[in-house]
């Protein structure tokens, strides 16, 4: 691959591939490493992608990144997250369903932001505790006066509700 092709690909797709790696379950640091490795592997390979086909380039890079991710997890046997190729494949399918329609995922994120605005206060504060303030489940259980399992169920329910909301928004377009 020519250097300027790589430059274009990195500029266009690095955010998407990073996001993809994170959604696959990589930590922020691992995701940053894997993105770099994926682009370098693409650079070293013989394929000369067609830059006019953005979606094709993205899918190709995702494939490389996915393989990197699998290799990474297979090497690190002590990793807490169990990953297998089927799971990753399923994740890729879900991810494609969600993000392929807007390429880099920005519309999906925007949809999430809109859905968050509509959340009831209690649910919103639970999400803030978990994702903004990084409270542990046990801390949350004290604050919300619930059991830890209750907190876990609550968060899962909220996430499922948000997922549904995002689906609906994306189906309708982003109109409020």
């Amino acid at each position: 691959m020519k250097r300027h092709t790589l430059e274009t690909l990195v500029r266009r797709h690095q955010a998407e591939i990073y996001r993809y790696m994170r959604y696959m379950g990589a930590s922020p640091a691992d995701a940053a490493d894997l993105v770099q490795e994926a682009f370098l592997a693409a650079f070293r390979g013989k394929t000369e992608p067609d830059l006019s086909d953005d979606r094709g380039c993205a899918a190709w890079l995702r494939g490389i990144a996915r393989n990197m991710f699998l290799r990474h997890w297979r090497r690190g046997k002590r990793n807490r997250v169990v990953v297998n190729s089927e799971l990753v494949e399923a994740a890729e399918n879900t991810w494609s369903d969600w993000f392929l329609r807007d390429g880099d995922g920005f519309e999906t994120v925007e949809a999430l932001e809109r859905c968050l605005e509509k959340l009831p206060d209690k649910q919103r504060s639970a999400l803030d505790m978990r994702y903004r303030d990084r409270e542990s489940r046990s801390e949350m259980s004290e604050l919300l006066k619930m059991t830890e399992n209750g907190v876990k169920s609550l968060l899962r329910r909220i996430r499922a509700g948000l997922a549904e909301c995002i689906e609906q928004r994306l189906a309708k377009g982003l109109s409020p």
Binding site: E7, R22, Y23, L40, A90, T94, L127, R132, R159, A163
Partner: protein, 474 residues
């Protein structure tokens, strides 16, 4: 949970991390491009460490995909080579030939077996032997990796910025436009042409301007054209490794106890006792304080006066004299002998107490420092001699108990009196009259003044509401 739901849930978690946890995808462009350094397959194959060393290069070179050549060499003598693209011979070069690599880059095999690889759009002129130099590769633009066979004579890569000389090693040289940051301002970035040298094996000598730098394996450096003298990363070498030692300057002041020949013994007195030091004066200069002054540069206005010292000798050092011995490491660099204290009296800069008034410590005088304290607060209770005052502050309240004994109680009135201040100015202040313990009612504001723990007076203020509307209202 089914796999789809699990995946959706995981995606939601990541999205919430991003949206609520403010996790933004990092900009990895620079890091990725910097890692596209020259990693030729033979480098990686034969010297695994090389790739790592090259990855350290601050700027990217490029990546070659040139297959290992299979062509015969040796038809043009040492000042020649074959240019290959994707392993195929595209041209043979002789002394003075110029070639451009085009879009694909090229590999150059010299007749001595040295292997060179150039990035796309590199321009090269090949030069034959000259003096001690067996071959010079003139790099006009672009970047190249060099794996030079050892030989009796040197191999050179010349660019407009500088010259890299080697005997046998592996390194890369690239001509690039380099970002240069000026000063501390990160935004003030300037682009300057630079020659980037990264050494994979052995060492190279880089001549830029009038200076020569030695880079060894693992080091890389950008040499800017503008300055001619780039910053070289100096490896940290300890004093021990350098075989050097920091010179330690030391000063000892004290009173001469004895001098025997060149051996000087002085007693240094401090708060924690006295210490005796013995020095071998050797040939150290002895400087004697005089009662004259000289003007030296220094001080706030650039000049200051100081005592003049005259040259003396060890025989001028007498018992009881004050001296300062300065040493560098273990050798004495100078000895300053000061005038006896009495002789300095009356002189400029006299540090002594007036005659007849020797310096005596507070302890020796049997005196105690007077500690005056004021506590302001509201009366909590007053039972007999015990006065309890509550002091309220931002950090809470504190209760003080005082023994009133015979302390005067002064009560604020609504009248004023004129007093003369310290600088002769007159001012009005609230008048206090003598009161008694019946004035010490709970809730009234008081200021209790103590001297060394004993109450000297109690000022009792009028309730706040009564003060409203009065003259000098606060």
């Amino acid at each position: 949970m089914n796999p789809d739901a699990e995946n959706t849930d995981r995606i939601m978690e990541r999205m919430l991390d991003e949206v609520l946890g403010q996790e933004q995808p990092p900009d990895l462009f620079e890091s990725i491009m910097a890692r596209t350094v020259a990693i030729h397959w033979w480098f990686r194959l034969r010297v695994p460490a090389v790739a790592a060393a090259l990855v350290l290069a601050a700027v990217g070179v490029g990546l070659w995909r040139v297959s290992r050549p299979t062509v015969e060499t040796g038809i043009h003598g040492i000042a020649s080579g074959h240019v290959l693209r994707r392993g195929e011979l595209v041209m043979s070069l002789t002394d003075g030939d110029w070639f451009e690599t085009g879009e694909e880059g090229a590999e150059l095999i010299l007749d001595d077996g040295s292997e060179l690889a150039f990035l796309p759009d590199s321009e090269v002129i090949i030069h034959g032997p000259s003096g001690d130099v067996r071959q010079t590769i003139e790099l006009l633009s672009g970047e190249g990796a060099f794996r030079v066979k050892k030989g009796d004579r040197t191999f050179e890569v010349a660019t407009r910025i500088g010259r890299v000389t080697v005997v046998g090693t592996e390194f890369t040289v690239g001509l690039r436009v380099q970002q240069k940051q000026k000063g501390e301002e990160r935004m003030n970035v300037k682009l300057v042409p630079a020659m980037v040298v990264a050494v994979a094996l052995g060492s190279v000598e880089v001549d830029v301007g009038n200076r020569t730098y030695l880079l060894s394996a693992g080091q890389n450096q950008a040499f800017a054209e503008e300055e001619g003298a780039p910053r070289i990363k100096k490896p940290r070498v300890s004093e021990k490794e350098r075989g050097e030692r920091k010179v330690r300057k030391r000063r000892v002041s004290g009173t001469v106890e004895s001098r025997d020949g060149n051996t000087l013994t002085i007693v240094q007195k401090g708060d924690s006792g006295s210490k005796t030091h013995t020095f071998d004066l050797g040939n150290a200069p002895v400087l004697l304080e005089t009662d004259e002054y000289e003007t030296v540069t220094g001080g706030e206005d650039g000049k200051r006066k100081q005592r003049k010292f005259a040259k003396g000798n060890p025989y001028n050092i007498e018992r009881g004299q004050r001296v300062t011995v300065t040493s560098m490491d273990t050798a004495i660099s100078e000895v300053r002998v000061y005038l006896p204290k009495k002789k300095r009296e009356g002189g400029e800069g006299d540090r002594e107490q007036p005659a007849g008034k020797p310096r005596v410590s507070e302890k020796e005088r049997g005196e105690k420092k007077v500690i005056k304290q004021r506590v302001s607060g509201d009366i909590e209770s007053c039972n007999g001699d015990a006065l309890r005052v509550v002091q309220r502050g931002d950090s809470g309240s504190k209760t003080h108990t005082f023994n009133l004994s015979n302390a005067p109680v002064l009560v604020e009135t609504d009248r004023y009196e004129t007093v003369t201040g310290g600088e002769g100015d007159k001012r009005k202040r609230q008048k206090f009259v003598e009161g008694n313990r019946t004035d010490l009612e709970p809730g009234r504001r008081v200021i209790v003044t103590t001297i060394n723990g004993t109450i000297s007076k109690v000022l009792v203020y009028r309730p706040k509401k009564k003060r409203e509307g009065g003259e000098g209202e606060r």
